[in-house]
Amino acid sequence: MKTNSLWKDAFIRLSKDKLALVSLIIVLTYFFVAILSALGLIASNWSQEVGASNLAPSMEHFFGTDIFGRSVLLKVIRGTQVAMSVGVAASIIAIPIGVLLGALAGYFGGWIDDFVTWLYTTFSSVPNIMLLISITLILGKGIFAVYIALGATSWVTLCRLIRGEVMKHKEREYVQAAGAIGGGHFRKLFRHILPNVSHIIIINTSMQFQIAIKSEVILSYLGLGVQGEPSWGTMIDDAKLELVRGVWWQLAGATVAMFFILLAFNILSDALRDALDPKLKGK
């Protein structure tokens, strides 16, 4: 029987799952929109007046206009850029920290393990929301503080998972074999074990991404996030006063934009876990 690698196998299984494929396309579309917006190719003129104040959605303005007559659609696009950038930045900070600490702790054990376990237990003992608002308050409001805060909170789960998985792998025969032919600790850890636990990084990042998006919206709503730029959170904050006057489209725009990306990541995370986690294979 011909056997495929884990990744090829996972890809084949993922591509059979129509719902997961659609989710993947949605996620990629959001990334594409965010990149175009970041490059200034679309929605760079979001602050311009395009019509009267608080126009309801129409064929001309799909999502209506806000109190200053700015297009809500363009604000939603700028908000997409902010939300996706937070997810990416949080992952860029969290993955190296989580993987490195988790791998070292799981492989070497001893005092390194004690230290890393203490470190992530400590971080997970402070409620996430308290840590998030404290860090953004102290570092000064703004998107940069949100990146750091989310990076500082989201490495914990990854570190714990990687540690556990590396611990399981280090006694396996393939690692002993690598040692027998003269591979040192770092070769065994980074060349042999890590590729075999790397699926955890993918699954966890997909889950952390939605947490990052949700947290950014709440932090921005609280006034701690991005300043002077539209974000889904600040749009919802505006809507707080507008709803009473019947202006519902800012809330709807931000909520709908958020709904599809979170839904896509939710479905994708489940599908990735099923496709990549060999324990569930065949179930």
């Binding site: 203490w118 470190l119 237990t121 400590t122 971080f123 997970s124 003992s125 402070v126 409620p127 929301i129 308290m130 840590l131 608002i133 404290s134 860090i135 308050l137 102290i138 570092l139 949700k214 919206v217 709440i218 709503y221 609280l222 006034g223 701690l224 889904w232 959170g233 919802i236 809507a239 707080k240 709803l243 009473v244 809330l251 931000a254 909520t255 958020m258 709904f259 599809f260 979170l262 839904l263 939710n266 479905i267």
Partner: protein
């Protein structure tokens, strides 16, 4: 067993020291000089020096750290910068409205989620199971803020069924104020709860002992309630217990939207006025809660499941 519990109890000490260290680094080291913020632009150097003295910021960093550690054990957090009240007093007052909201909401949402999970586990793979799962995932994909805004606008403002905001002390009075935020809390937690409970129950359903029970001729409902649910209760109880400390913090956003004068609202006020001592106190109190209930949940897990071996 006793040895394990004692070891876990002792482990609380380094964790508590670590939590104090995070709070210390954030609020006493990175934050810079808070007196400039507190006194405004026109403060003289003399005034700032006086205030630093008064707030205890002249002490060495090490003794500032010790103060934080001490407060984690004594719960004496000093005075608020914004309201000048004693913080332990403020927390005592804020706990009542917070708990009035969080306890009923938490209990009801857990029971409702459990009932739904057992129901869909019974009909697993059927249309109703799929429907509930889709609802859970869709529900979890909507921002909590959107739920709160919409429910408040629709049920309280448009239909006038509930108070829009505020709080009144004393039993039956507070019910009309907490009813709507409690409903929102329940709606928000059903999604993740049902998803978790359902997975746990289904994990058990495919075990060998269930097949044995079935071959004995027991009815599906007896198997589900007497065999499966009992075993599934272990992860469910730990999941529930570990959430209890979040009740202390109340629901930050819900209290804020509905102007409930609880601990969550207090924390956000402190955030807006850069009231560091109150923020620190809330961070410490909620962390202590997390540590204690994390410990309880671990111990319950090991007590309830004899298969777990102690190292």
């Amino acid at each position: 067993m006793t040895k394990y519990i004692i070891r876990r109890l002792l482990y609380m000490i380094p964790v508590l020291l670590g939590v104090s260290l995070i709070i210390f680094v954030l609020f006493n080291v990175v934050s810079g000089d808070p007196t400039a913020v507190l006194l405004g632009k026109n403060a003289t150097a003399r005034q700032m020096a006086d205030l630093r003295e008064q707030l205890g910021l002249n002490k060495s960093l090490f003794s500032q750290y010790l103060d934080i550690v001490k407060s984690a054990f004594t719960f004496d957090f000093g005075y608020s910068w914004a309201t000048k009240q004693e913080i332990s007093q403020m927390i005592w007052q804020g706990a009542y409205p917070s708990l009035c909201l969080s306890i009923p909401a938490f209990v009801i949402s857990t029971v409702v989620s459990l009932l739904i999970s057992v129901f869909v586990a019974y009909y697993r793979g059927k249309g109703i199971d799929l429907f509930v799962r889709v609802c859970c995932i869709a529900g979890m994909s909507i921002s909590a803020l959107a739920y709160i805004l919409f429910f408040q606008w629709f049920f309280a403002y448009k239909l006038g069924w509930f108070e829009i905001s505020g709080f009144e002390e004393g039993f039956p009075n507070f019910i009309s104020y907490i009813a709507l935020p409690a409903i929102i809390w329940i709606v928000l937690s059903i999604g993740p709860d049902v998803r978790f409970f359902r997975t746990v129950i289904l994990d058990e359903i495919y075990q060998d002992y269930v097949r044995t029970a079935r071959s004995k001729g027991l009815s599906e409902i007896t198997i589900l309630l007497h065999h499966v649910l009992r075993n599934a209760m272990i992860p469910i109880i730990t999941y529930v217990v570990i959430q209890i400390p979040s009740l202390i913090l109340g629901a930050l956003l819900l209290e804020n939207f509905f102007s409930i004068p609880g601990l969550g609202g207090m924390t956000l006020n402190a955030l807006n006025s850069s009231d560091f001592p109150v923020m620190k106190a809330m961070a410490i109190i909620s962390s202590v809660g997390y540590i204690i209930f994390g410990l309880i949940s671990d111990i319950l897990y090991t007590v309830a499941d004899p298969r777990i071996k102690f190292k």
